[in-house]
Amino acid sequence: MKKIAVYGKGGIGKSTTVSNLAVALAEKGYKVMQIGCDPKADSTIQLRHGKEIPTVLEMFQQKKQNLKLEDMVTVGYAGVVCVEAGGPTPGLGCAGRGIITALEKLEETGAYETYQPDIVLYDVLGDVVCGGFSMPMRKGYADQVFIITSGENMAIHAGANIAMAVENFKNRGYASLGGIILNKREVPREEEKVQELAGDFHTQIIGRLDRSELVMEAEEAGKVLLEYAPDSQMAEEYRKLADQILAVCGEEKPC
C-alpha cells in the first residue's frame, strides 16, 4: 500500500487534481482510497456526483464508541473509496485536532485492512498551519508528500512552507517530499518560478497540468474530468501525472 499526501494553497486545485488522479490510478487497475482532510468536506465531491456523505467527525460525534467503518465510507466513481474527515463548525473548535481524530478513527475502525487500497491519497487543506495538518505526513501515514502549486506568488509561498515542514520533520521519520505538481495559471515566469521553488528544496517538478476550461465545465457538471471528457487532452495530462507519481513512489503495476 502506498500512501500519498497532497498539499498546496487553498483554491489551487488540489481536490480536482487528486480526484482525477484517483480515477486515473483506478483506470490502471489500482484500488484507490481518497481521504479529504478539510473541514469543508468537499475533496471527493466530484467522485460522488455532488451527493452528500457523512464525515468521519460527524459520525464520531453521533455514534461515539459505536462508530463503524461503513458509517463514514462511500464508494464513488471508478470504485474510488471516498472518505471526508470533516471538521468543526467554522469559527469554532479545532480543525487540526479534527484531522488527527478523523485519521485515528479510520485506523481504529480498520479502514485500510477492510478496503485494502493499493494507493491512499490524502488531500490536505491549505498549507501546514498547525500540528493537525501535519498528521497525514506523520509516520504510519503518507510515505510521500506532493505539493501542488501554480506560479502565483502566494501559492509558491505556501508550497515553500509545506516543503519546509517536510524538511524540518526529517528526523521524526515523516514522509519525504516526492515532488511538485505545477498546476498552471498562465502567470508570467510561471515555469521559472516553480523551478526555483523545486531547486530550493532539492526536488523536481514531476508533473505539469495545463489550464483548461474543460476542468471547470466538468466541475459544473459535478464530475471528474476523466468521466466528463475521458478522451480529452486534459484527461491524458492527468493520466500522465498518475504515471509520474507512480514512478516517484516506485509503485509497480497492479496484479
Binding site: C94, G96, R97, G132, S134, K139, R172, G173
Partner: protein, 371 residues
C-alpha cells in the same frame, strides 16, 4: 445516564499510571504538562514519593510554547537532564494540552533516542483515561523493549507477576505476601512488574514457565510476552486461600480460572464488590468458595473486556453506580463510595489507592491475606 461525578472521586488518571508503573525501573518519565499532572501524582497517587527516588519529570509546558508548538524546548530540556542523569530509558507521557495540540510523541521519542542513544518511547496518555490504561501500556513497552532475546531456557515452576503497582496493591510489603502465597504453593516469582525488584529482573522474565496477571494493568504485557517468548499467561490474584486455585490454574495454564469458579444463578443474599476487575473477581471467587455466599462485582474501570464473570458488570459514572448499588445488602468498597451506598446496607471498607489516594493508607488491607 450522566457521567458527571458529584460525590465520589474519579480513579487515578492514565499519566499517573505510567509514572507508577515505571517508578522503580531506572528510567526517566516525563509528563508533558504545565504542572497539574505532577502535583496530582506526587500528592495523591504515589506513596513512594518521599521514600524512594525516581526520575519523574514534568516539562512545565507554558501557554506560549503550546501555542507555538515549541517541541524543541521539550526535547532540549529532556536531553539536558538525560545527559546528567543517564536514565535507562526515557518515557514520554502526554496530558490534555499536548493531546489537543496533536503533539507527535512517538516522533519525539524517536528523535530523543537517535540524539541521546537512550531508548525512548511514548505512552499515548491524555489525562482522560484511567490508570490501568496508562500503566498497562507502559508495562507493554517494557515487555517489548527491555526483556532481552528469547533464550529458550525455561525455569520450571516460576512466574512473573504482571500488573503490580502501589495504586492497586499498596506498599511493597503487601506485594511480598502475594509472593509468599505463591511460594507456599510451590511457585517462585522471577520478576514483579513493576515494584520491589532489581531493575534487571526483567531480563530473565522470558524464562518464566508462566506469567500471572494479578491486575488488569498486566494484561497487555502478558500478551507481548506470550508473543515474544511463547510464555502462557494466567489471570488472577493470589489472595489468601484462593491462591491454591491460582496455583492449579498455573499448572494447567488455565487462562482465566475465576470465571469458571464463580457461582451462577443463585439469587440469595449477596455481597457487592467494587474495584479493579482481576483483583475483585479473584476476591469474589475466594469469598464465594470460603463463605458460600454469592458475590457480584461492579467495575468502574475502562479495561474489562473478557475479565468479568457472567453477571458482573462495567459501571460507568457515579449515577450508574448509585443505581447499581440500590439493591445491594453488603458492600465491600473504598470508603469514599459510602456516601452513594444505600443507608441500610452493611458497608465494609476496602481502601484502594487508585481511588482515594493516601487518605486511608494506614488502613490499607493486605490483599494477599483477605480470604
Amino acid at each position: 445516564m450522566r457521567q458527571s461525578y458529584r460525590i465520589i472521586p474519579i480513579y487515578t488518571a492514565d499519566v499517573s499510571g505510567v509514572c507508577s508503573a515505571l517508578y522503580e525501573l531506572g528510567g526517566m518519565t516525563v509528563m508533558h504538562d504545565p504542572s497539574g499532572c505532577n502535583s496530582t501524582y506526587n500528592t495523591h497517587d504515589e506513596i513512594r514519593w518521599y521514600d524512594q527516588d525516581s526520575l519523574i519529570y514534568i516539562s512545565g509546558l507554558t501557554e506560549i510554547d503550546a501555542i507555538m508548538g515549541n517541541d524543541q524546548k521539550f526535547l532540549d530540556d529532556i536531553k539536558e537532564a538525560a545527559r546528567e542523569l543517564h536514565p535507562k530509558f526515557i518515557a514520554l507521557a502526554g496530558s490534555p494540552i499536548p493531546y489537543m495540540n496533536g503533539t507527535d510523541f512517538p516522533a519525539l521519542a524517536q528523535v530523543l533516542e537517535e540524539e541521546t542513544g537512550i531508548p525512548a518511547f511514548a505512552v499515548p496518555t491524555n489525562g482522560m483515561h484511567d490508570y490501568v490504561y496508562g500503566a498497562g501500556i507502559a508495562l507493554e513497552e517494557i515487555a517489548k523493549r527491555f526483556t532481552g532475546e528469547k533464550t529458550g531456557r525455561i525455569q520450571a515452576r516460576t512466574v512473573n507477576l504482571l500488573g503490580v503497582t502501589p495504586l492497586d496493591f499498596g506498599p511493597v510489603s503487601h506485594v511480598e505476601v502475594l509472593k509468599e502465597n505463591l511460594k507456599a504453593c510451590g511457585w517462585k516469582v522471577l520478576s514483579t512488574w513493576a515494584m520491589g525488584d532489581e531493575p534487571d529482573a526483567f531480563l530473565q522474565a522470558g524464562e518464566a514457565e508462566v506469567n500471572l496477571v494479578v491486575s488488569s494493568v498486566g494484561l497487555r504485557a502478558a500478551k507481548v510476552l506470550e508473543e515474544k517468548f511463547g510464555t502462557p499467561y494466567v489471570v488472577g490474584t493470589p489472595i489468601g486461600s484462593y491462591t491454591e486455585r491460582i496455583a492449579k490454574a498455573l499448572e494447567e495454564k488455565e487462562q482465566i480460572s475465576y470465571r469458571k469458579d464463580r457461582m451462577q444463578g443463585r439469587k440469595d443474599r449477596k455481597v457487592t464488590l467494587i474495584g479493579e476487575p482481576v483483583i475483585m473477581e479473584s476476591l469474589a471467587a475466594g469469598i464465594e468458595e470460603k463463605y458460600d455466599c454469592r458475590v457480584e462485582v461492579l467495575c468502574p474501570l475502562e479495561e474489562t473486556d473478557g475479565l468479568l464473570a457472567d453477571g458482573d458488570r462495567w459501571v460507568h459514572g457515579e449515577e450508574e453506580m448509585e443505581e447499581a448499588l440500590k439493591a445491594a445488602e453488603i458492600i465491600v468498597a473504598d470508603p469514599l463510595y459510602k456516601p452513594i451506598c444505600p443507608k441500610n446496607c452493611e458497608f465494609y471498607e476496602l481502601p484502594h489507592i487508585a481511588f482515594s489516594g493516601r487518605i486511608y493508607l494506614k488502613k490499607l488491607p493486605v490483599l494477599g491475606k483477605l480470604v
